[in-house]
Every structure is written in C-alpha cells, then in structure tokens.
C-alpha cells in the first residue's frame, strides 16, 4: 500500500511573488481514503540553507486536526491564502541561501508523518555569481 501523496498547488501556477503580495494555494492529499489521518499542518516559512547553522521562521501556520470536527476537512482540498511579508527576500547565495516554501506535514496513525514542500520565490534578487580566480 503506497503512502498518501501531498500535492501543493499555487493559484494560477504562480511561483514568484512580490513582497506584500497575496499567496493563495491549495493542498490536496491523494490516496488518503486508505489511511487514517490524525492531523495536517500547513505552514508558509522561510529558512536559510548552507554550510552553517540554519535559521527558520514561520510566517503562516494552520493545523487541522481530526479531533476537532476536522476529519472531513482533511479529506477535502485545503485552500489558504496569506499576505507575504516584505522580507527576507529569496536569495540564491553560494554559502547561504534563503528559501521560501509551503510545507505540509500530515500526521497518520502510529506516529507516522509525511512531509511535502513546495518552494516559491519572494522578490527578485538575482542569484549570486561565483567568481573562480583564473
């Protein structure tokens, strides 16, 4: 029996947003009927990524739990929207990157978890250019 698949779809297929723009997305879980979901957490967050310690901040968070009348909700596509902040802007650096993403964490019975992530860009900072000495 294969695990349920979590799909994160940005409205209009948009993947790049301006600071302060509204992000709208839908999370859909496929093959969930075969499983007993306990809860789903949806977050919009940024994190750093590189060779050093990581930093992370959650901009939007919502948890739908099967306990509080959410059992049916978990089986329907979950739509949400949030106004993105002005910073930090996405940055494709060499030793550090700033990545924005929508992250969905699905909790199943027996402490099983499925995590799905879909990245998007906030702002339009060009990627760093690696200069190799000749």
């Amino acid at each position: 029996m294969s695990d349920p698949r979590v799909l994160i779809l940005f409205e209009g297929g948009q993947r790049t947003y301006r600071p302060g723009e509204m992000l709208s997305a839908t999370c859909r879980i496929e093959s969930l009927s075969l499983f007993e979901p306990k809860a789903m957490e949806v977050s919009v967050l940024w994190h750093t990524e590189g060779k050093g310690d990581e930093d992370l901040a959650v901009h939007y968070f919502n948890r739908v739990s099967a306990d509080d009348e959410g059992a049916m909700e978990l089986r329907r596509p979950y739509q949400f929207q949030t106004r993105l902040p002005n910073s930090p802007l996405t940055y494709d650096g060499i030793i550090v990157k700033i990545r924005w993403c929508v992250r969905v964490r699905l909790f199943l019975v027996r402490s099983r978890e499925i995590v799905a992530e879909q990245a998007f860009r906030l702002g339009d900072i060009p990627a760093a250019v690696l200069v190799v000495p000749k």
């Binding site: 993947r15 990524e49 590189g50 060779k51 990581e54 494709d92 990157k97 339009d124 990627a127 690696l130």
Partner: protein
C-alpha cells in the same frame, strides 16, 4: 514579475539541513547494529563512550542511539560541549535522581579532569547513565569506535543525491575524502562547494 520554475532556489544536497546528525542516518558495519551497541551499554551499567576522530560520525551515531534509548524506556538528556567549554552548564546536572535518565555528552573531551571526576560522582549518586562522545576513552568503557572509509563516503553521497548525481561522481567523493583525510563532515562541505560550482555553471542566468 517573471515566473519560472527555473528561478526557484534549488537546494544543495550537501547543505547542513541534509547532512546534520539526525538528518543523515548512521551506517552500521554489518557485525555491529544499534541493538548490539545498546546491549553493550546496558551491560556496562549504561555508562559508555563512543570514540572516534573528528567527522567520523560520533554525533550521528549518538542521535541514532538516543532514539533507541527512548524505545528501551530510558530518558536521554543531551549536552553538547564546544571547543573551550571546560565546564558543564549548570542545568546539566541539577536534576532529580532518576534511574531511567542517561546523560548524553557530545564532546566529553572538552571537560577538564576535575569536572569529569565530579560528574562521574554525581552520575553515580543519582543513578543516571552516562553516554559520551570523545576522541579517546577517558576512563569510560568504549562501546564503539567510529571510523570512516572512502566507500562509506560514496554510499552516503549517493543517498544524499537521491539519483540526481549529475554534478558529483564517485571519483569526486573519493578525492574529497582523501583531501580531507577521512573527515566525513569536511568531505561533505568540500562536495557542497563543488556542487555549487558545477550546478551554477549549467544554470541559465
């Protein structure tokens, strides 16, 4: 604003996020499993040391063992000591006596002789276990020596690349491993740089 999936910041598979202990699983040699190590630790009265050089997987192994300690009904409390930290933080030992508790110290060699002696007495008095990582045994029973080899590095890198190995070859891994004299952490950092260099060379700007 333009909109293209090419512009999404791609992850570097050698970033700390994917390589830190806990994210990367410890690879046991066939004759040594997690259960066997925990049996050894239990036989030593839950006192033991994981010994190995820098970047040989001590902290990664510790993270794996901690999960299994919980499965055996033990409660672990981890303290990480960094270079120059010769004393334990106050809250590390000011806890109630609890026979289930295993105090886990990553970087035990940082402690001076006197703090280690005092800790040993405290642990005994409170009935705690003590599991540490260090570069030499320092008076505790050694439950495992961590080592690395180039083929282990190749296996780890293949796992990290997950089938997207276009920028890093097995020979790159072996070369980086040799350059870093077997330090797996530094090997992965070297490969981070190579990955950045090669992936950027092929990216449209």
């Amino acid at each position: 604003m333009t909109d293209s999936n090419d512009q999404i910041v791609a992850s570097n598979p050698f970033a700390t996020r994917f390589t830190r202990p806990g994210a990367l699983r410890y690879h046991f040699a066939p004759e040594v499993g997690c259960d066997r190590l925990l049996d050894r630790l239990a036989a030593e009265g839950w006192r033991g040391a994981i010994v190995g050089p820098h970047g040989s997987g001590k902290t990664t192994l510790l993270s794996t063992l901690e999960l299994e300690l919980a499965a055996r009904g033990r409660v672990s409390h981890r303290v990480t000591l960094h270079a120059g930290q010769h004393q334990l933080p106050y809250n590390a030992t000011h806890r109630a006596a609890d026979p289930r508790l295993v105090l886990v110290i990553d970087g035990y060699e940082q402690l001076g002789v006197w703090p280690r002696w005092r800790l040993s007495r405290q642990v005994q008095a409170k009935g705690w276990g003590l599991l540490v990582t260090c570069h030499s045994p320092l008076g505790l029973p050694v439950i495992h020596h961590t080592t690395t080899d180039p083929e282990l590095a190749v296996i780890l890198v293949r796992e990290l690349l997950g089938g997207y190995g276009e920028f890093i070859s097995d020979d790159d891994v072996r070369r980086a491993f040799a350059e870093q004299e077997g330090d797996m952490r530094e090997t992965l950092f070297t490969l981070y740089d190579i990955y950045e260099l090669r992936s950027r060379a092929t990216k449209p700007r």
